[in-house]
Symmetry: C2
Subunit: 387 residues, 2 copies
């Protein structure tokens, strides 16, 4: 086959966005094979963009139709695992929309299932991994250019969402329909990036505000302290009520520092020696010149500045292209689906830490306890069945 | 009297710095009345700078001598409260060096004692309150120009200290001699400023590293989550091992935001309406233009930028001048000594939170529990008597 035929499940805002990208030929090795959309009111629009494509009401029918080689799951987050597993079971590749699922128990089940079908490709739409800026930062860190990481601090509050956004769909910002707020919908990109770049934390403390500035039951503000288990620590702050949003990531290593502002401007500080060595070499006289402001900081490090603007659509098109190229030509996969668990576990653990008012381990995270606590909230809310 | 006669207790680095300021006439309404210094090796230097001044070995003798109207306590932190109380008891005004003490129990005792001697002035050397930049920021917040505060984030890691610094004195960075590390010695300035500007938190969670990058038993890195009790939250990060130090304070209000970099550059974002109102007014069409990147952010807020460099010595001279002017002419006091408890309580609570692995209340903070835990560490260390 020349082009991978993608089945889009759910032709809403995100599904339609992928449909447009493919219809415009922005992904060289992929085309739309079919669409599943339960709402027939959208048929006219779908037919206009994809005149020769069949519209299914039931995604299972589409998966079995022979029309598609792979699916993408642009549907409410809870459904991602079950749809992915059904596709894999039927020999169809899967590109999951992020997050991989809502709670670790279902995502683990999916990962186990996918590992038993490893002839098929299971990937996840972490489009930010395809942002040239973060790719470059990951390279710098992986190359050891700033040494071993000691701290990360990310303030990512550029996710402003007004009440009208929350009121657009019944399921949005509910425990039973969406499974959370900013942690589940907006921040998964950064929850993935921070772990992709700096490593998977071993424990987390979370302070979470539910309906703080919006009329919703789920979280609209999060403050988390990450423990990487090797001495390194981090903070992670996000919310949906900061109209003058901040996006500032700082990574401190023992040989340098990276500061990223607005996901566009980067400063990389590279030290001539490791902080450990400079610390050991400095004597009493050195301390005196430090205190008298006579230490020449320019001798200690150099700064590289660069900036990169990334087109939002370009990131997604790149993930689609890589997914197809992996299947068609064996190109290495940018975002293996199995890595989706990390962000889900971190988000779950931040909730659980806040609910239990203590730091929570990610190493022996209690999937069942989280699901029990989530179900309590779904039951209290009274709009959806518990899980 | 025209000039207040100050007795300097301890002619080390800080005491000598004040001595120099006064000898050079940089404080118009104050002069050195006497000096207490136990180390006679420093006599020659003291006499050179202050030829007509008596050097005492015992501060109590100096307090009772009639040579001084006030004292300043540039001695190890533990001693501040007892020296301050002895002076007040003998009719002498007190300017305490920061921090007010090491643990809240002794600082409360001092505050109670001082309130019974309110004919005398008890102040504290919070020189950063005299930094024009932070004075202006406090005005902006107090005027309501950024509305009610929702978040504060301060990364203040410009306190780099090498091992040679810690090895300079036996008492430094010990539990029994100094009572802590970066929280007690370097960060008290910011622990005061954040509360002076944004209000006193009601609870705190702390993650603290002891001897993480230095061969010391006390803390060289701190990550704290502040809960202001009114919905607002904050983070506070400090350490002594970041050679490329960061100093970045962000204060988010419901009508704007303040971002301070390097305690020099300030951006003040003022919104045309409160975020609450903008949130309520935005309809579905507005959300669509937001998502299509068509919202004009310039219509929503204006940015003012300013910068202010503050001379370190100038700040201290200003506090000395204000202290003397308060006593001589009734000028309002910039830093009342009683406010020193806030920073000490916050530092103690961060320790206690880390030791007990849970969030700690500042409202009903358990002074005795903290002292017990501190004493355990002093005993384990085995160098000093417990308290």
């Amino acid at each position: 086959m020349n082009k991978l035929r993608l089945g889009i499940i759910g032709y809403g805002q995100q599904g339609g966005f992928y449909g447009d990208l493919l219809a415009k030929g922005q992904v060289s090795n992929m085309e739309v094979g079919a669409v599943t959309e339960i709402d027939s009111a959208k048929d006219a629009r779908i037919k206009e963009v994809h005149p020769e494509v069949t519209i299914y009401r039931d995604y299972k029918e589409m998966v079995k139709s022979g029309d598609v080689d792979a699916i993408i799951t642009t549907v409410p987050h809870y459904l991602h695992p079950e749809m992915a597993m059904f596709a894999l079971e039927n020999g169809i590749h899967v590109l999951n929309e992020k997050p991989a699922g809502v709670y670790t128990k279902q995502v683990k089940e999916l990962n186990d299932f996918a590992s038993k079908h490893d002839d098929l490709t299971y990937a996840i739409m972490f489009n930010q991994r395809n942002n040239p800026l973060y790719k470059r930062i990951k390279e710098i860190v992986d190359n050891g250019e700033i040494g071993d990481i000691r701290r990360t601090n990310w303030i990512i509050t550029t996710w402003w969402r007004p009440q009208a956004y929350y009121d657009m769909s019944d399921w949005r910002a509910t425990w039973g329909g969406e499974g959370g707020g900013v942690l589940v919908n907006q921040a998964p990109h950064q929850l993935d990036l921070i772990q992709w770049i700096a490593g998977v934390p071993e424990a987390v403390y979370g302070k979470v505000k539910y309906g703080y500035q919006r009329d919703i039951v789920v979280e609209d503000e999060v403050t988390a302290v990450l423990d990487y288990g090797n001495g390194a620590t981090g903070t992670f702050v996000t919310c949906t009520h900061d109209l003058i949003g901040t996006d500032r990531l700082e990574i401190l290593g023992d040989k340098g520092k990276i500061v990223v502002e607005d996901s566009q401007k980067v400063k990389v500080y590279r030290m001539t020696k490791s902080e450990n060595d400079l610390n050991k070499e400095m004597d009493f006289e050195g301390v005196k010149s430090l205190f008298m402001g006579q230490m020449d900081i320019n001798e200690i490090y150099q700064v590289e500045e660069f900036s990169a603007e990334s087109q939002w659509g370009g990131q997604h098109a790149g993930v689609l292209e890589n997914f197809a190229a992996h299947i068609l030509d064996g190109e290495p996969l940018l975002a293996p689906g199995s890595e989706g668990i990390n962000g889900v576990r971190l988000a779950n653990a931040i909730h659980l830490s806040d609910w239990t008012n203590q730091e929570v381990s990610l190493v022996d995270f209690d999937d069942n306890q989280y699901l029990e606590e989530l179900n309590k909230r779904i039951a209290e809310e009274g709009k959806y069945e518990t899980r």
